[in-house]
Symmetry: none
Subunit: 404 residues, 2 copies
Amino acid sequence: MGTLDLGPLLQDNGSKIILFVWDGVGGLTSGPNGETELQAAKTPNADRLVAANVCGRLEPVYPGVTPGSGPGHLGLFGYDPLEYRIGRGALEAVGVGFDLEPKDVAARLNLCTLDDEGRITDRRAGRIPNAEAKPVVEKLAAAIREVDGVEVLWSPVKEHRALMVLRGEGLGDGVEDTDPQRTGVAPLEPQVIEETASNRRTAEVAGKVLRQAREVLRGEAKARGVLARGFAKRPHWPTMAERFGVKAAVVAGTPMYRGVAKLVGMEALPATNDMEKDVASVAANWDAYDFFFLHYKHTDMAGEDGDFGAKVKAIEEADGALPALERLGPDVLIVTADHSTPSAMKAHSWHPVPVLLAAKTSRRDAAERFDEIACIGGELGLRPSIHLMPLALAHAGRLAKFGA
Amino acid sequence: MGTLDLGPLLQDNGSKIILFVWDGVGGLTSGPNGETELQAAKTPNADRLVAANVCGRLEPVYPGVTPGSGPGHLGLFGYDPLEYRIGRGALEAVGVGFDLEPKDVAARLNLCTLDDEGRITDRRAGRIPNAEAKPVVEKLAAAIREVDGVEVLWSPVKEHRALMVLRGEGLGDGVEDTDPQRTGVAPLEPQVIEETASNRRTAEVAGKVLRQAREVLRGEAKARGVLARGFAKRPHWPTMAERFGVKAAVVAGTPMYRGVAKLVGMEALPATNDMEKDVASVAANWDAYDFFFLHYKHTDMAGEDGDFGAKVKAIEEADGALPALERLGPDVLIVTADHSTPSAMKAHSWHPVPVLLAAKTSRRDAAERFDEIACIGGELGLRPSIHLMPLALAHAGRLAKFGA
């Protein structure tokens, strides 16, 4: 089956869709009684919705492929993660909530250790902790603000990781990494990937910035230099309004998810990672949008921590938010995840995620419980995540017939 | 997963396949006891076949996409509807059973209302009823038979819709619509999409025809002009014989289905939309073909009418035809649909359709009933409709091994 441009089929009937993402909710059958976190949790609301509607399973990116948060969400938004790729620098900016402007070029930095001859001795500066890394990045930000008319912006990310953004006219992002991927040699000079005036300008400015950074950091013990990777501009993709005809909003307390949603044109509403307040934020903006992406983070965090019990509790908290969402009267209410984060693995995984879809046009299946196993028997079957948006639009009455 | 050209694998073993389409048979769980029309119907024959063979579900065109009758059937014939598209004019010809010749260019017409200055006041002539529209089209047909050596053929379709066919040598179909898509302005002159001699000739002839039509209709109250859309030639596709090695025939009492089947090279056998006679038509031609597409229309009609009970009855009638088909001894007998037409929606829908496949090589599943929910658990799984033909050929013993 190829792909279909839904554009010619779109019709705006004023209907509303809620996509409620329980981040990383999928688990393994690893509980004390051989159950998943979802099976162990009491989820009366999700179970009631499944019993009266349809469920199934989504495969986020590709069989066997574990998604990062970006690709996992892009699939749910109907953007094939294999096609819509974000350069490393731009993704780092999204992750820290840095709003890239169209003229910006972002790069991911690693703080690194250099010897007195300028050769790399540790590519990650001894995995310097946040508390030590932050002042280093602040020192760089104070010392290097502008080079050759290009503004230079800095942000710590985590441990040895940082973000550098070059802001100026005429910058290209076709520039090679300066990390030689080994120790004992000096960092590479930024080289253009393709010879254009804008790539050349970025390479020259970046070269000066990185040399100046070495001067600024000369007195440091661990972080005596920086390596730059993944020079990238913000991608410019068609928005959800353009592709699917919906005015979309995101309620997500964590910058990464808000950032990915903004890349597909969603507007960011107030969000706190407090379930009750975030549902209230959806309610307060109900009339202004067609599509709401509500993100719940704690399921994923508990999974990453390997805490089965905490994940069960987080699921129950998310389930408790469903009645308030139902009271808003959405035409389509979806609960699913961007990927699995089994607490038994303490990490994201490739396993399919359960999905429930509540709508008047549901062809009710036999499933009566919202969990990974019950959803195997669901009417929606097992599908790539990118199938979700067309199904949501169909159940919302937003797709006209194809052909006569 | 890419697509595979089955050509090199085809082997002709003289086996026979029946594809019995219960048009629009899929429904919603909307009956008095929360059941679908198929669940409510008594289908002892289909249930017996499911219990002894395999079932599953087909997704006709694309997730969430509601198929028209053309795309819905093309998928079942193994032609990807996203790839095999029919121009609007040609599809309109198919729908009224007009056999387009290779040199013909067809356009869909809308009768429209014009004011005294020739500006459109109603793009659909007040949705003029059939009884009023037909004499208007006949008037056009009588008055405009030939322009510049090109034969002009006319046919009413439904209400304000009509078909115009230009028949002559050297005509192209690269011509823009003349419908400006708004009122208050004059119809557009036909413009070539790409400047070629054949497109130019079509545009010039069509321009003259449409001006003459305005003269002919000057005295009419509502239908005082025509707008032309979707200039198109008959598509020339590889036949089922070429693609799948089967000599195929269609038994369908409704022009649209017969027309689509002819586009993929099926030969039309006598058909009446009377179940018993149509089965007899298959039987009378049993020796002459490898593949029979038998179409049953009444399930779809009852669904479109929103008549749950009538759809149940229609299903039972179709089920009653199965023993006579089984007695012919087909190697593969398939029952499925081109799309769902839930009576609760009074329209086609995107929901998957159940499919049963009876063959000696069935790997029997646990399903024991032919309905949308039982088929979730079927051995064939949930698949795009275009997977059906390769499976049918395999069960018919018509596909050799791939690779050594």
